[in-house]
């Protein structure tokens, strides 16, 4: 059991408390979801459970915190390791050795367990995590999902009573994320392990957990069963409800026959089937393809050494379009978009930007016309202050200082970064860094903006702001190209979807043609619409708004 009373914690060098008067009890065997806006204190609270806060990080702490009867404030993490296992966000930076078997043995070796016991625990952990086939695999050859499973196995081997996971799926593709979550469900269900999971994508987990905690500003803002929390007043909690729940909340507000809140598409379907009547047929008016081409990808092949990653890609992208590029991991998405700004040049074929062959320019030259936002904001941050970071590319072009100051001020205001103008960019939180990265690229007003997985690990509020900004940017006549796995965001904002597989475009067209009726890449609302098509609901419905038009 975890018991926390009046806990306050402030990191060294900061004024604002990261945890403020936390009172919390978590019973054994529960599956608890911890969510909320970035910088709200979720990761800090999780690190209290195994003593990393305060023992590893330092800082001012007061109040009481106990885990399985041990006083956390007096017990260092190494002594809590057999009580609380912790899995971190980045699969790369938590693996210490070079192969799977040694990785699992690492903690057991540290505890000085006898070799025969270590051997037994390795077997158990490999089987429990379902990775026995990876036993002798090298860590650097594993996929992100496999690495997370190895990390889970390596803490399971210590036989913890509580498993804490800090956004373990945020760096994974949807299939890998699904596998990791299924494993957690099994650990909680069959072994009775207490699981505490930080997660932003509620649609993935709300149906799995017993309890949902929402944090913000270092406090617990909401606590209860998921359906209760999401049925209540969520304004100000900084969480994004899954589309199917948003839909049901809307419908419930004027349909007394709908009770409770469904957590899955199936549950929603069964409830709606009972009350569905007066469905209005709706024809969705999607924006047509732009006639003015800006990018032309002509028979492009690209290979790393002898391995072909792009195979005969043909695409025309018009001015003012919002295009989403989807596909499994390693399907060639990032390699494709890196062709657009000259970071990579085709091995065969041509990419033309406004009629000019990209092979004749450098990436630095093309950056004036094509902005590129990397997945990891750290890859953008070089300067000493936020305002210098935003001004960087303009200064590099030799733009007049008065114009730079005006442009920087505009970006600071647009992305709500004014209070951080003198801060060191790398010291900011993940969401704040993401905003600085975006501002530093968009300040140059490129006519094409490419974003590689911009919403991965982003909280709901930030995601909403980003989508709204990109939509405005597109309406000004610019082109937005976004690589993403986030099918719900794509359904809301993209017009055209390109689906890649094994380096080839397998489907390309209007988002409705690609996302509706798809098995894997369809949004929640479309899965519901498909099931309700017999009642007159259009099976091409993609968003909550479209569904409400028909059945609201």
């Amino acid at each position: 059991m975890i018991r926390i009373r009046e806990l306050n914690f402030t990191y060294n060098g900061t004024e604002r408390p990261a945890l403020n008067k936390i009172n919390l009890t978590i019973e054994d065997g529960h599956f608890v979801l911890l969510t909320g806006a970035s910088g709200g204190g979720k990761s800090t609270l999780c690190r209290v459970f195994n003593g990393l806060v305060p023992h590893f990080y330092g800082g001012k702490i007061s109040g009481k915190a106990e885990v399985q009867g041990m006083d956390i404030l007096k017990t260092p993490p190494k002594e809590l390791a057999t009580k609380v296992g912790m899995v971190f966000q980045d699969p790369e930076n938590q693996l210490v050795t070079t192969d799977v078997e040694r990785e699992i043995a690492f903690g057991l070796e540290n505890l000085g367990y006898p070799k025969n016991l270590i051997a037994r625990r390795i077997e158990e952990a490999l089987d429990t995590a379902g990775i026995a086939h990876l036993r002798f695999a090298r860590n650097n050859e594993l996929s992100g999902g496999e690495k997370q499973k190895v990390a889970i196995a390596s803490v399971l081997a210590l036989h913890p009573e509580i498993l804490v996971l800090d956004e373990p799926t945020s760096e994974l593709d949807p299939q890998s994320a699904e596998e990791v979550l299924r494993l957690l469900e099994r650990l909680n269900d069959e072994l009775g392990l207490t699981v505490i999971l930080i997660e932003q994508r509620l649609d993935r987990v709300v149906h799995l957990v017993d309890r949902m905690l929402v944090m913000g500003g270092g406090e617990i803002l909401a606590d209860g069963r998921p359906a209760e929390v999401m049925n209540g007043n969520i304004a100000g909690l900084g969480i994004g409800l899954p589309p199917v729940i948003r839909l049901m909340r809307e419908l419930k507000s004027h349909n007394a026959a709908l009770n409770g809140l469904p957590l899955t598409v199936k549950d929603a379907r069964l409830r709606l089937q009972k009350v569905l009547q007066n469905v209005k047929t709706s024809a969705f008016a999607d924006a047509g393809a732009s006639l003015e081409p800006v990018l032309n990808i002509d028979k492009v092949w690209f290979a790393y050494g002898e391995r072909a990653v792009l195979k005969n890609i043909n695409l025309n992208i018009g001015r003012g379009e919002f295009i989403a590029v989807m596909g499994r991991n390693a399907s060639g998405k990032t390699t494709l978009v890196k062709q657009l700004n000259g970071l990579l040049k085709p091995t065969k074929g041509r990419v033309r930007l406004g009629g000019v062959d990209t092979r004749k320019s450098t990436a630095a030259d093309l950056s004036r016309r094509v902005g590129y936002v990397f997945q990891n904001p750290n890859d953008h941050l070089f300067a000493d202050t936020v305002e210098d970071e935003i001004a960087f590319s303009l200064r590099n072009r030799g733009v007049d200082e008065t114009k730079i100051t005006k442009a920087v001020e505009g970006m600071l205001e647009e992305f709500e970064l004014g209070r951080y103008r003198k801060s060191y960019p790398r010291n900011l939180s993940g969401g704040e860094k993401q905003r600085v990265a975006l501002a530093s690229v968009l300040v140059g007003q490129p006519e094409v903006i490419v974003l590689d997985e911009p919403t991965r690990g982003m909280d709901y509020v930030l995601k909403k702001k980003l989508v709204s900004y990109l939509d405005d940017y597109r309406r000004k006549g610019n082109t937005v190209i976004m690589v993403s796995h986030d099918v719900e965001t794509i359904a809301e904002c993209a017009e055209r979807v390109v689906l890649l597989s094994e380096g080839r475009v397998v489907v390309e067209g209007n988002k409705r043609e690609v996302l509706a009726k798809a098995l894997l890449f369809s949004p929640q609302i479309n899965r519901l619409a498909q099931a309700l098509s017999g009642y007159g609901v259009a099976d091409t419905t993609l968003t909550v708004g479209e569904m409400l038009e028909q059945i609201g």
Binding site: F106, A363, F382
Partner: protein
């Protein structure tokens, strides 16, 4: 640069104790440094070939050789251009240099450069063979067996483990600069140096972040728990391994003895000495070759014992 990381393969060389391979390889490196005689250096080189073939890493080794040959050629060329010793002048420059006189290219300087290049080939081949056939964690286990402090060995092992991440980080950060309009490879050397310096700072910052995360993950898994650490995959030395280790070290011991006896040296200047000599001058290299190759039958024997 060719890929030189360990690949698990089911070969007799991979199955050989890492201690034996390290002793054999280390011996070869020392011998290539203490011998100057071309016959001995050639023998050292030849002894690597069966090991490479049996380990099934011929392709990787060949790609290393391609890279090393360029280095070797540059050693020969530089030595020929700047070492004016030797009586057999092959080419004389039509000008004089202050303090040096008239530059000449001599047969002796080329021969000396060629043997130095072959030494380099031997050393790089040994390193690639060890890299390709010894698991990095086994190297760590061997160092622990040699009673080196665990924390120092772990830090070394972690640094090696994160080298590929560092290379990836560098690529991404360079791309980050390019997409913000920086021509990394344009301008004078000072500008290039300044640009590269910026990348190094970002790289350092990323590495520090990574170090904190790794430390956190280790702490959460009871690192430094105060209990006596157990090594699950400790290198165990069977009698056969001990014998193989002895055989692995034998060439080194024999080589040192040969050098102490005054053999294995060679005179390049002012003119090349005769390669041949008496029976002992030919017998000693032949014995060295046999000793160096003795590790091969032992590897087969070990496999056979394991299968039995």
């Amino acid at each position: 640069m060719p890929e030189l990381s360990y690949r698990d393969k089911n070969t007799v060389i991979h199955a050989l104790s890492p201690l034996v391979k390290l002793a054999w390889g280390g011996g070869l490196v020392v011998l290539s440094l203490i011998f100057n005689h071309p016959v001995y250096i050639l023998i050292l080189f030849l002894s690597i070939i069966p090991m490479v073939r049996l380990a099934g890493v011929g392709r990787e080794w060949a790609s290393t050789l391609k890279f090393t040959i360029w280095l070797g050629l540059s050693i020969i060329v530089i030595n020929a251009l700047f070492s004016y010793h030797g009586d057999h002048v092959l080419l004389t420059a039509p000008f004089r240099l202050p303090a040096v006189g008239q530059p000449v290219i001599t047969l002796e300087a080329i021969a000396f450069g060629a043997v130095m290049a072959l030494k380099l080939v031997v050393i790089i081949s040994v390193f690639s063979l060890i890299n390709l056939t010894v698991h990095p964690d086994d190297i760590m286990a061997v160092l622990l067996k040699m009673r080196l402090p665990y924390k120092s060995v772990l830090v070394t092992s972690l640094s090696t483990r994160f080298v590929p991440c560092l290379v990836e980080d560098m690529g991404r950060i360079s791309d980050g600069y390019r997409t913000r309009g920086v021509q990394l490879d344009a301008g004078g050397w000072f500008k290039k140096l300044r640009n590269r310096g910026k990348i190094t700072l970002s790289l350092l910052s990323n590495s520090l972040d990574r170090a904190v995360q790794v430390a956190e993950a280790m702490e959460a898994r009871a690192f430094g728990s105060g209990k006596k650490r157990v090594f699950y995959k400790e290198i165990s030395i069977s009698r056969l391994d001990a014998a193989a280790l002895g055989v692995g070290l034998l060439p080194l011991a024999a080589g040192i003895t040969v050098r102490v006896m005054g053999y294995g040296d060679y005179q390049y200047y002012p003119e090349l000495a005769s390669i041949g000599g008496g029976t002992i001058e030919w017998a000693l290299p032949a014995i060295m070759l046999l000793l160096l190759a003795a590790v091969v039958p032992l590897a087969f024997l070990k496999r056979r014992v394991e299968l039995d």
